[in-house]
């Protein structure tokens, strides 16, 4: 099976193979070391209009999940560099909340119970039939994502995701749609570095033309708006990596 490289994430081992097949779809991560099974899954999911990334190693899966907000992750339990259950546990500990469908040839009830207990959302036994994959993926994608805060905040900045409005000390900020999306992302990831790639994926679709400095321009505009509103948070830049929103108390530490 030939996987064709798309965008690459740095990984300790095999790297990430990405493929884009449609303009509007969910992004799904397949973590499976058997290339034939991975190919079968990827082809099926792509036929359903999804964007699919495939990795073989737990380390690459963690890197991918930290860099991308996946709508779903399908994780095999027996990976070459670790157990899939440990991977799920590690992801949940790092607040990676994408739904997880665990895939395994293990037939013991204990494995299934442990998988669900540590944060997997569903379980599918190998061998599996493709119609079952389709049904389970559709069911998981239909579920509301894990409870997300509807009004995340940093300092005196509050982002109201229902009203699509950001306020500082109760005063609405004049933000264009993409700047609002950027602020929401940074506020949700407060104190964590947000890679530029993740911002691009959050703000733009695959068919969008993205100017090379568009993210910098949005960040610059957002900084100005926050500064004028006397927001108690600043956007830090780490050159070549990304951005981080920190409350002024944290920034002073």
């Amino acid at each position: 099976m030939e996987h064709v490289a798309g965008r690459q994430l740095p990984g300790p081992t095999g790297g990430l193979r990405s493929h884009v097949s449609a303009s509007r779809q969910s992004r799904i991560l397949v973590v499976e070391d058997d290339r034939d099974v991975a190919g079968l899954l990827a082809r099926e999911l792509r036929a359903g209009g999804h964007v699919v990334d495939v990795v073989e190693f737990a380390g690459d899966a963690l890197s991918a999940a930290r860099a991308t907000d996946y709508a779903l992750m399908i994780i095999d339990l027996g990976l070459p560099d670790g157990d899939g259950l440990d991977l799920v546990r590690d992801m949940r500990r790092r607040a990676i909340e994408s739904p997880v469908l665990v895939l395994t040839a293990r037939r013991k009830v204990e494995d299934r119970v442990v998988g669900l207990a540590i944060g997997a959302d569903d379980y599918m036994a190998k061998p599996f039939a493709l119609p079952e994959v389709r049904a389970r993926v559709a069911a998981l994608l239909r579920r509301p994502s894990r409870i997300r805060e509807s009004q995340p905040s940093v300092g005196n900045i509050v982002v109201d995701c229902d009203a699509l409005e950001a306020v500082v000390d109760g005063v609405s900020l004049p933000l264009a749609r993409k700047q609002f999306q950027l602020l929401e992302l940074l506020v949700r990831r407060k104190n964590h570095m947000t890679p530029k790639r993740m911002i691009e994926e959050a703000l733009y679709g695959y068919d969008d033309d993205v100017c090379t400095n568009s993210i910098e321009a949005h960040v610059s505009r957002l900084r100005r708006v926050l500064s004028l509103a006397r927001a108690q948070a600043v956007i830090e830049t780490r050159r070549g990596i990304g951005y981080r929103l920190v409350g002024l108390d944290s920034a002073a530490e």
Binding site: M1, H3, D36, A38, K126, Y204, V210
Partner: protein, 103 residues
């Protein structure tokens, strides 16, 4: 103006996991026969594990069932039984033959 590169035609090219898997079955059959001849059956563990995870999904149920039983035995600490491996080799031979017939 930069931006992300749209997928090229090679990326859209169809994958052939089924064809690749059948070729793998042939290779696995030969490898297991060789290990049975040399008596190094313990080295068949990774092959058995891979078959346990994939054969049933590709429609080779007999191979998958035998491999899964052997894999679970190994996972619980047992040695790979030679007679089980012989059964697996037979199932692989039949699976490859059937795949050849169906083209």
């Amino acid at each position: 103006v930069g931006g992300r590169v749209p997928p090229g035609p090679e990326e859209i090219a169809a994958l052939d996991p089924e064809g690749h898997f059948i070729r793998r079955l042939q290779a696995d059959h030969l490898a297991i026969m060789r290990l049975l001849e040399t008596g190094a059956v313990v080295k068949a563990g990774p092959i058995v594990h891979r078959l346990a995870g994939a054969a049933g999904t590709f429609g080779f149920e007999e191979v998958g069932t035998i491999a899964l039983t052997l894999d679970e035995a190994v996972a619980s600490g047992a040695l790979l039984p030679v007679e089980g491996l012989v059964r697996l080799a037979g199932a692989l031979e039949r699976a490859v033959g059937a795949a050849r017939k169906s083209g």
